[in-house]
């Protein structure tokens, strides 16, 4: 059995599809309810996790460092849950960080914009054209968020195995199509794809720990071997590399840590002008 990851241009439509698909296949639904548990286990306010999924860091909004950490906590928690198969995941950005896992079927749901606008217009008691405009703004915001958070444009159809437009295909038909596709042998887990997912989970777990001290780093894993890429000035290279090795080496599942220190040219340039 496989994993189904659903992304949607409008949250409500994606959620409706995810709920129905999970119920039909008897799969676990992994959605934003997970944030309560993620917040409690990682000592991050739940509101901060929700906010990190909804907005980009800004001067008057959420600062970059807590935003990055909140996303890392979400990523880690979701990946940990996905290690057990038979799940439908929605609303947690998994389509952007579950990459290269062959048993994860990725679906993009395009909402019926007119229908969603009519619902919004009624809820907010605003004219239909204004509601439509708001929905358009939300979509644009999501697009910018996906680029800032994970360096990918979530509207790119190339990220998905299946794209379904709800304007012409109704909800039940969409769910049936997803369930049928998920049953293809190519989406079944295998040793390699499970290892890929386990590698992503380990990297996310390590990154969450390291982010507390090093705000900007990349982590990848292959088996128990980790590669950590971090920016540092020349004089701090050795100290940073040692600290990372020490911190990461204590995490369960880590056998070997390689640290690549990249010259922090911006800080170096800033210091040379002082």
């Amino acid at each position: 059995m496989s994993l189904i990851i659903i992304s949607a241009d409008l949250y409500e439509s994606g959620r409706a599809v995810a709920e129905k698909a999970a119920a039909k296949l008897n799969y676990r639904l992994i959605d934003r309810e997970l944030l309560t548990e993620a917040a409690a286990h990682n000592e991050v306010p739940e509101a901060e996790l929700k906010r990190a999924l909804a907005e980009n860091p800004s001067l008057f909004g959420m600062r970059a460092r807590p935003w990055r950490r909140a996303l890392a906590v979400i990523q880690k928690t979701v990946l940990e849950r996905l290690l057990a198969d038979d799940a439908v995941c929605h609303g947690l950005g998994a389509h952007l960080y579950v990459v290269g896992v062959s048993h994860a079927l990725k679906v993009r749901v395009l909402a019926d914009a007119e229908k969603e606008a009519a619902v919004l217009a009624e809820q907010e008691r605003i004219p239909a054209d204004k509601a439509m405009k708001r929905l358009e703004q939300r979509k644009q915001l999501r697009r910018r968020w996906s680029r800032s958070a994970f360096g990918m444009d979530e509207t790119d159809p190339g990220l998905y195995d299946l794209v379904i437009g709800l304007s012409n295909i109704d909800l039940d038909e969409a769910v049936q199509t997803i369930c049928d596709t998920a049953s293809y042998r190519k989406f079944q887990p295998m040793s390699w794809s499970q290892k890929c997912l386990a590698d992503l989970e380990l990297a996310a777990r390590v990154r969450t720990v390291l982010l507390e001290r090093f705000p900007d780093l990349k982590v990848s894993a292959d088996g128990g071997t980790l590669v950590v890429e971090v920016r540092a000035m020349k004089r701090e290279k050795r100290r940073k590399a040692e600290a990372i090795k020490e911190m990461a080496g204590r995490i369960a599942g880590v056998e070997y840590v390689e640290v690549h220190v990249v010259n922090d040219i911006f800080r170096q340039a800033a210091e040379s002008f002082r």
Partner: protein, 135 residues
Amino acid sequence: MDVQLHVLLLDDEPIVGKRLKPALAKIGCEVEVFEDPRLALARIDEKEFDIVVTDIRMDEIDGIQVLERVAAKSPRTKVIMITGYAMMSLAREAMDKGAFDFIAKPFQPNDLRKVIAKAAEALGTPLNVESGEAA
């Protein structure tokens, strides 16, 4: 110990067969090792194996072709693909064409033993991998 599983192992790198054959023999497999895919296919035509373990990237005939031949000739045979060039598209293609499992190189002999044990289970001939003995 009774031989329970007949395994064909195909990899054009001799070290792979040399290393894996004794590891699989320990858990009750009779292993025939091939480095030339043409000879392996000829043997597959002659004998129905329980499990075929094949590399994917080889000269002339690749592992996907081996998989297709085995699937056509003996649907009950479990085919395990091993490769040093694992990619999502290749993994999906192999599974779609009936592979039982797909493993990326490098791996430890025990990783393959575990997959063989899963295949044995699916064939109704469970193995005891932990003790290194056939169950």
